[in-house]
Amino acid sequence: MTGPDRVASDFRVAVVGSGPSGFYVTEALFRSGATVAVDMFERLPVPFGLVRFGVAPDHPKLKQVTVTFDRIATAPRFRFVGNVAVGRDVTVDELRHSYDAVVLATGADVSRSLDIPGQSLPGSHHAGDFVAWYNGHPDCRELRFDLGHEAAVIVGHGNVALDVARILAKTADELRQTDIANHALEVLAESRIREIHVVGRGQPAQAKFSAKELRDFLDLRACDASIGEGLPPDEPDRDNPNDPELAEKLALLGAFSRHAATKPRRCHFRFGLSPLAIQGRGCVEAMSFTSESGAVQDIPCGLVFSSIGRRTSPLAGVPYDEHRGVHANIEGRVANGHSVVDGLYACGWSKRGPSGTIGTNRGCGIATAEAVIADLHTRRRPPAGDPDALLTRISNRVPHLVSYGDWAAIDAAEKRRGAALGKPREKFVMVPDMLAAIGA
């Protein structure tokens, strides 16, 4: 493992995961006043988690948050340990033996299932897999999405559902100059989808998507937004002075319902429909919903994307909260029932579930870092091992540990590939290609 020379530190902390919450807990540890060194473990050779693999390619401004992560990573006591999967290449217990504290920032990477008949028919997908595929996640490179159908149904009323709808609604030309993975752009360019249904159980006022995401549907080149027939949205509540966000959402949906559609594609927002079953002989042909009156409504479609939430992958050696779908924790301290597990913490989505914006994880990271530092000062548990010795052992198991400097080489290579195509970057979508870019 190459990296900056170690600086004497009071405490050494392992952070597992390199998405926003991993970086923000690291920042908070560095600012705590104590002298803390952080080793950040990441399963892939590339950092940033959902900023790289979740944020939509046509939302580039949001991705500028990586400038902040780069700044955090320049701290002399920071090391990136990429291409090492905790749980596979090193256990949580090994980390706990070698570090003063271990913070899990592993996100919520498992899509929740609809649990209805027909959900495993070909053509039925998790929205999260589609997002990871068009964003070039190596795990999803080999997935196949058949966009040769007229209609797609997206189940859920969160921002991920809107991302999927918008990517399906846009023309290839609207996506060509984003950092969308090329394999996805090629498939999307051949898409025959004309009808996109974004379907949710609740009424407009309950929808979780943000007004800003909904606004994107006002100016799509080839797609009109509309409101599914028979279900006009709630009359915009004009007396909403304390909730301008809700007022704007309702106003936008109202505008969609009055808008005359002229473009070749249509995105229908539908409310008050609960998933009943996915129909089809051998592949998806329709999806059935129950309306609030109890009537069954079928929407013909060749594709279904379910976007009804995510949960954290359980890790061996870490108690799991089945109900909340996170590492079991009491305000960031991992706990077995009421008993706190010494030296083990969680932050971000793997602590509180998948909600909020990128910055919500900053406040969350500050809170977890405060717990870490308070515990280290009051009941420090001297680690039996030494992080450097552990990294040496890991490097015997994993051929190529990736440092932040190595990532910089991958980053530069991706930007060069992108520049040739008029894109901000063309991501490497397979781990061997990422490693090749650093000469590993």
Partner: protein, 101 residues
């Protein structure tokens, strides 16, 4: 676009916005906070976090509040970044209640 801090911010300094800002684009003077439009990434985290509803996206501002866009730009350039939450000013809670929040 950008997000913009407006009149309601004056006199409370809850600074919840600072905690949730992922890119540290809040600036501060004795009166209120300001968003640096050059650094704001439009994540929208600060607007719902503000206890007094002082923050709005620029496009949503009423006509008589549009001038705050320029005020934020100008004052953000003249004032220091604030990177951690501060204690609220005395009377902040009373002010919040007076604003009907």
């Amino acid at each position: 676009m950008t997000y913009v801090v407006t009149d309601n911010c004056r006199g409370c300094r809850f600074t919840e916005c600072v905690t949730v800002c992922p890119v540290e684009c809040f600036h501060l003077d004795a009166t209120m906070t300001y968003i640096d439009p050059e650094n704001c990434i439009d994540c929208g985290g600060c607007a719902p976090a503000c206890p007094v509803g002082a923050i709005e996206p620029d496009y949503r501002l009423a006509a008589d509040k549009k001038f705050w866009i320029d005020v934020n730009r100008k004052r953000a350039a003249e004032t220091p970044v604030i990177s951690a939450r501060l204690p609220p000013l005395p009377g902040a809670d009373e002010r919040r209640q007076a604003l009907g929040r």
